[in-house]
């Protein structure tokens, strides 16, 4: 099963992501391997003085699509437990915008589920991001065509 979200909805939150809570959500005696992925806001050399990234979402559809992605992961890895959170609003440099935890009896499935989940979130979630610069001003980040 998956875990309840905090702040916005089941999967989206407008608060800093609580990674410890995410880990607690997937922990269980029979799950020997747990993988956590964090996507954090970074500044690459060509981005200039990015101070933060603002994430906006089609909230209702993001909740639905993230829920579908989690369900599909459990169909592929039935013994796994997964949790994920995507943050919306302004996320400062260095903080996590997305977190995924996957636990399974053996580590191979935990790694595989974690990898699959982040790739699906990036491909499908109706979420957009805008760089906010320390000097003021903002720029939408190029996305990739969403698909379901």
């Amino acid at each position: 099963m998956w875990a309840m979200g905090g702040g916005g909805g089941r999967w989206l939150t407008d608060q800093p992501i609580d990674v410890a809570a995410l880990l607690a959500d997937v922990a269980a005696a029979g799950r020997g391997g747990t993988v956590v992925f964090l996507g954090t806001v970074r500044r690459s050399s060509e981005d200039g003085d990015v101070a933060a990234i603002e994430y906006t979402a089609y909230d209702a559809m993001a909740e639905a699509e993230l829920g579908r992605i989690a369900e599909e992961a459990l169909a592929r890895w039935p013994d796994a437990r997964v949790a994920l959170r995507h943050r919306t609003g302004v996320v400062p440099l260095g903080e996590a915008s997305v977190a995924i935890a996957a636990a399974a009896p053996h580590r191979a499935d935990a790694y595989a589920a974690s990898r699959w989940l982040i790739e699906e979130v990036k491909r499908r979630a109706p979420i957009w991001k805008k760089e906010r610069f320390a000097s003021g001003g903002a720029r939408w980040v190029e996305g990739h065509t969403g698909g379901g």
Binding site: V121, W128, E142, T145
Partner: protein, 89 residues
């Protein structure tokens, strides 16, 4: 079930986001499309508006919170969304 409103036609809400909403200067519009309209017709409706200006190319479409192909038939009361290239995760 389904079918058009009392006056005929299909009433839909069309949601815009991100670069599309910015280019359009709005994030939502209501439309009455002809009977038989499909999801792609909602996008064409947006592009035909006088305020549309130059909208980004190649958005995806969603109907009632699910991705939809342009050929998906619309029903009265549907919520259509124009989904510009996504950048989550």
């Amino acid at each position: 079930m389904s079918g058009g409103g009392a006056a005929g036609g299909i009433r839909v809400s069309i949601l815009l986001f991100a670069t599309f909403a910015e280019a359009a200067g709005r994030d939502r519009l209501e439309a009455v499309l002809p009977d038989g309209a499909v999801a792609g017709d909602a996008l064409a409706f947006v592009r035909s508006q006088p305020w549309a200006g130059r909208l980004p190319p190649s958005p995806a479409l969603a109907v009632n919170l699910r991705y939809a192909k342009p050929g998906l038939a619309l029903r009265d009361g549907d919520e259509v969304a124009v989904i510009p290239p996504v950048a989550g995760g």
